[in-house]
Symmetry: D2
Subunit: 331 residues, 4 copies
Amino acid sequence: MKTAAIVGASGYTGRELLRLLAQHPHLRASVVMTARPGATPEAPTFPNDPTIDALDLERLRAVDGVFLCTPHGAASEIARAALAMGKQVVDLSADFRLRDPQVYARTYGSAHPAPELLQQAVYGLTEHARAAVQGARLVANPGCYPTSVLLPVLPLLQNGLLQKGAPIIADSKSGTSGAGKAPSERTHFGSVHENFCAYGVGTHRHAPEIQQELGVEGLVFTPHLLPVFRGILSTIYVTPAAGVTVAAIRECLQARYAQEPFVKVYSKGLPELSCVQRTNQCHIATAGSGPLVVLVAAIDNLVKGASGQALQNMNLMLSLPETAGLQEGLS
Amino acid sequence: MKTAAIVGASGYTGRELLRLLAQHPHLRASVVMTARPGATPEAPTFPNDPTIDALDLERLRAVDGVFLCTPHGAASEIARAALAMGKQVVDLSADFRLRDPQVYARTYGSAHPAPELLQQAVYGLTEHARAAVQGARLVANPGCYPTSVLLPVLPLLQNGLLQKGAPIIADSKSGTSGAGKAPSERTHFGSVHENFCAYGVGTHRHAPEIQQELGVEGLVFTPHLLPVFRGILSTIYVTPAAGVTVAAIRECLQARYAQEPFVKVYSKGLPELSCVQRTNQCHIATAGSGPLVVLVAAIDNLVKGASGQALQNMNLMLSLPETAGLQEGLS
Amino acid sequence: MKTAAIVGASGYTGRELLRLLAQHPHLRASVVMTARPGATPEAPTFPNDPTIDALDLERLRAVDGVFLCTPHGAASEIARAALAMGKQVVDLSADFRLRDPQVYARTYGSAHPAPELLQQAVYGLTEHARAAVQGARLVANPGCYPTSVLLPVLPLLQNGLLQKGAPIIADSKSGTSGAGKAPSERTHFGSVHENFCAYGVGTHRHAPEIQQELGVEGLVFTPHLLPVFRGILSTIYVTPAAGVTVAAIRECLQARYAQEPFVKVYSKGLPELSCVQRTNQCHIATAGSGPLVVLVAAIDNLVKGASGQALQNMNLMLSLPETAGLQEGLS
Amino acid sequence: MKTAAIVGASGYTGRELLRLLAQHPHLRASVVMTARPGATPEAPTFPNDPTIDALDLERLRAVDGVFLCTPHGAASEIARAALAMGKQVVDLSADFRLRDPQVYARTYGSAHPAPELLQQAVYGLTEHARAAVQGARLVANPGCYPTSVLLPVLPLLQNGLLQKGAPIIADSKSGTSGAGKAPSERTHFGSVHENFCAYGVGTHRHAPEIQQELGVEGLVFTPHLLPVFRGILSTIYVTPAAGVTVAAIRECLQARYAQEPFVKVYSKGLPELSCVQRTNQCHIATAGSGPLVVLVAAIDNLVKGASGQALQNMNLMLSLPETAGLQEGLS
């Protein structure tokens, strides 16, 4: 049995890790701490939850791996300490996702807090970085929206199936858990229920991340807020290269992901949030519509879009079976 | 006080008309009937609702205008009878929206039930057909999705602001009331709640209607089902012609709709469903995102997308003030 | 046309008053202010909403009536100023509901801020205080839960239909708008959606208010939080006096409220929230169950439970028709 | 590894059993069938779900235990066949819950389909029937509402803590999954969302079941429909015997359930649906309120109220660890 620390355990991604690790056969959460310096221990919200201890970096010495579930900006310092202790670190915040510190500064509004660590950070979209993750000491866990866009689009770019220079449009819809546990006007029940909106059009922080990983220009990204708690569904519009059919695009994706335990490419039908909630799955469907091809991808933003993928990465880093703790059966 | 008949009053659009007419200063619902031949009168679902009488076409002789709130296919025969009595008719079904009976047959799966009436039917997107509606005897009330797409896009096409031949992508999200009052697996609470899905990608019946009214090729239309009851939000992606800025697109829309009581073009911010629910408003915002311009349009599918626009049209046909019964104040 | 001021217009009850007054034929909101001293004007949340001005008590001189939509404790000082100007005041906060300042202090945790005004305050459960309200200068608008409990129970006590000394149990369920517009952990979307809970069992602040108005001992009041925005449904369990049947209880209520425009007593069926949402109605049903009689009462907590009843009271105080601005037709 | 059959697997309780068995270390679903004679196999709704085979009673010979997830009335014949094969049967329908066939006939409107089996059926409220369940061949799995009422009330009756003859009032609120998977007007999204209602006051079929198990007169049971999918919260009002305090009632429950893995009695705070969803737990709190004691009990109606308790019973019948497959960690 190996051990992990969860720093920032009082938020939604921290609690989701606790939920997953409770069923993990080889890894358990032996250190569960808040990420706020000086904060006192927190009693659990639910009767079965553990107490969340005060922050004490020294306790990280005792564990094998460290999950950072902090807001962006707060992870860097803890990562630096844990790496100095020789620990494997998976950072669920945005601190190490953008390779260029100037893009980070422009996107997050302040200088990068640990630019010296950027070089060693591996962008952990597991299915596209498995070998690098296995050897990594620091994994930047991908954002939830980027995961839902990159998994369906990357193989098409890699195989030259898309028309060069044409825009790639990601119309993404997320549940409110993506906005975190802290109450806000935006996530007040009276603001979300029986409502729906777009936000951050052309300005969302996940756009530079998606753009970086796509490696081509032309991304158009529009996030929306759904009145649900869990899940992201991205409807993605791409322009096939001359002569490329919908069938060719589907076959490319099916071939690419045939051996992947957590990606399923549909032959017919369309994924819904309910197909993937509480699982580490990404489900993808393809359809032709006028001159474009439509890709529909669904994930649980707290699992494949956050804590599940983080655990998938940590499993690899600690030489555990990649799917351990993530085989949840039915959604 | 003029009088109207509502045929098909037991569905959501019929009940919405009752709600609107209850506050109308110049028009009242004097005949309220089911559209199902042979059906017995229905007791009201809610204590304040009127009884819905059995179908009796002869009673239409007594009214000034007739609203048809029937399923598609069922409206034609009633329309024929009402027109023969010299009544003004607004049909909320799809029977008279498509000008070409062959497109109708292809889209709805059976021959058009009244092709001889198609010529006189006016497509009642009020802001773009006001004069024709005023003189019409038969108005085809637009579909809910088409209303949300045509209002923001038509002025851009008419003013040559869009790149010719580029796709026009409408990613539309609707509340469940668009699927009607009859229970189904798709609209079962357990299927909709905490869920979200796309459906009818490349095959939805509203696509030919939008295509017809746009008058250009290249529409890509993807409807989605939201876990809300009222409202449609369409996120629309268009390619500006060379040299056309987002500001130019916004100014075009603002100029076009400056005098319209029911269309509002934002200078900043984005519309949400809650801005338009229970109103006859269409709210539109514009934003640049990469190489494209994003239009966000919100309506209440039961009001501007159905019964409100139907009343707006009937007001014009009966020479009543266009906004009568539709000035609802705050949403 | 008479004029009213709304002080505290940025909350849910203030906005609801704006919505109602927008349709009022004889009263308009000419002064719309925040209740927070020193707060700057607030831009409207929704495009059609008015700007909310900074607090300026001098502006109250110009209006006929004053609505106070403030938190408890904050209304007293403004009420004192408005009364000194000779204005009619309806206070939607809890400041003047409890006649005994010691009960207020025990319930709200601080000394009453204006005990000298308590004597002249009329508890404005309109159907049971019409004459007093007409002559009142200061009306304490009832709480939302109390309105839903008192309307069905008071006539039964007044007519001696209940067994003396037996408990009166009110199991009440409210939408989240009752908790106000300020974000909190309790009303975070992630805390309310797909959840349900009881709270304040035996300790809720509305219990002393209900107890005071019932005038008998033995109230058991349990509030619950529903994942809906609008509405309260109270299920009330009473013990009939010897020989009193369910039919007798129903007939008592029907006789008592037969002439009331805003109370409906069912002969069959049960009210649901959807029967009363967005109306000033209280719907009541009765049923026998074992040894007890069950009363089910439904109101919209923002209308009959707050702003609608406040307007009903203000109409009376300003000698306007009692139902003006409140005849909303279908819900 | 032992094997089980699920007959009636296409409904919510059948699917929930599949979800639970997917994680069970000692029992797997080797036969998954519809319960409708003549029905063809059903493709799975979700990608990970198994196909549901046509009904073939002969296949039951191959399994160790049989779960019947059929509507009431349909289970008896299958139970008879399975018992004749010597199988252990857990029936999740209502067929064997009422010991008196006349009460069954009165409650369900038709003669009991297998009265000869009633004698051997054990009412499987596990914590109160453990020994009998272990030796049973046929277990009648309790209804969802009864489970939420009996667990908190039975120990109080058994220990004489309640005033004899006083009513026991259960005000219960259930998510829509209790009404099953078949679409209906009552469970249409547009009927449930932003709504709440009581139903079956004084007439619900679970009242005779609760009454039978309580063994005393005076039950008052009011079910309500919540706009959530999973969960029941029952607020129960009892009259303590002379001199019995709330603390005594809490201590009684805590002592009774101290060793039970699936019942938790709170020392402070109140259970919410979110504390128990997706777990086999029943959480209970106690509070004084006026002259009565309030018990708040929460379960997941599909787990402890149906499939989870069924599995708990089957584990006992097959001599497996009682908690196997039911230790789900965090909700």
